[in-house]
Symmetry: C2
Subunit: 241 residues, 2 copies
Amino acid sequence: MHSLTEQNYIQQLSIDCVIFGYENQQLKVLISTLKFKGDFQVLPSGFIYQGEDVDEAARRILEDRTSIKDTYLEQFHVFGKADRSNRAFLDRLIELNPDLVILHQQQRQQYEWFTRRFVSIGYYALVDMAKVIPQKHEIDQSITWYDVRQLPILAMDHNEIVQKAIDTLRLTLDQRLSAFSLLPESFTMKDVQEVYEAIYDKPFARNNFQKKILDMNVLERLEKKFTGAANKAPYLYRYIK
Amino acid sequence: MHSLTEQNYIQQLSIDCVIFGYENQQLKVLISTLKFKGDFQVLPSGFIYQGEDVDEAARRILEDRTSIKDTYLEQFHVFGKADRSNRAFLDRLIELNPDLVILHQQQRQQYEWFTRRFVSIGYYALVDMAKVIPQKHEIDQSITWYDVRQLPILAMDHNEIVQKAIDTLRLTLDQRLSAFSLLPESFTMKDVQEVYEAIYDKPFARNNFQKKILDMNVLERLEKKFTGAANKAPYLYRYIK
């Protein structure tokens, strides 16, 4: 559990990352399952070094877990309830994993800092899933994508953090044009509509939707998509930043 | 400078409040001018007690400076650059105010915590200026409203914080219906248009604007405003939350 050892971090401040991907008409979130007994599932998280910008720390955590550097990343909310602490989480983990030597009494004091109240800064990222190779940490059993509509119960307030990220994504999607970050380089208009439908979890009327997107004036039309049936082939588009 | 003495605060974390008011077609921000030599001007700020929710701390700071409890208040951004610190600010203050006994060597160590790097959580509030009586602190010469288009140079990154608050206000105004919080209980459609024009710093076409606002379905039409000229009197409206 090297990542829980106190280093030169700002105390009582953490970062939680909601990393969104998109596949098969589903909006997905990257969740890590800890290798301890008890099915502990959490968002990718981390801390801020004294000499590091908060945004830089978020980018480091994102890169560490996805192996990609340049993608859409945005700070969206601070979770600052006074009763927000890792203590209950750690207590339960030790209760279910009594054999976990590293967490026994003599070593516990070095994790004391970790059980204090934490204020957490939420960031969400939008990634092209095809480019991401999720990276396990030493303490992870796995790190995988979950459909946001079928999320497991996450540790602490992480379900609430995901929900707030989705709310913010919906609230600012049109102004920030962020949906395109979930798609590959080129895509059809149907792909755009489906990604919007996955984000808002509701259908849109095709003609209105298409008009709205084209009116944004941010897409370049490319060649037709090769489908074998030339006359019905849809155009491909590319997002111009 | 009681407010700078270390208490049971979360270390290296602060709150800055951008308190918006509206008057004479101007969007205004509440700024405090410190009573020391050097024209130091800052946003109302404060810290978070260990046992206090971050939102609660922001509300306490807002109430402390405006004497009002219930008004629109929203967390909007975290300012987390690694080089964000009060040290340069405090050094300059001492340089220009060498007679300031309380900041001399022997007392300086108790303010040491205050000169470290701080991550600041930005909140903006929207208030009905007529209800606010700005409250001076011991260290303030004055606390007054400034037109956002004519802000002085503020200490640290406080100008940047105000700008980000304005950007966020503009980005989410229609979805959050927050503009009405700047107006008194009842207002004319012209008042609404003028508050929007102040926020976006640009004119809107009257007919389109009026239609857009009425389509939101959040206003109740009251009696006509008494102007003396009955046939031209505009209707008053009230915002229904």
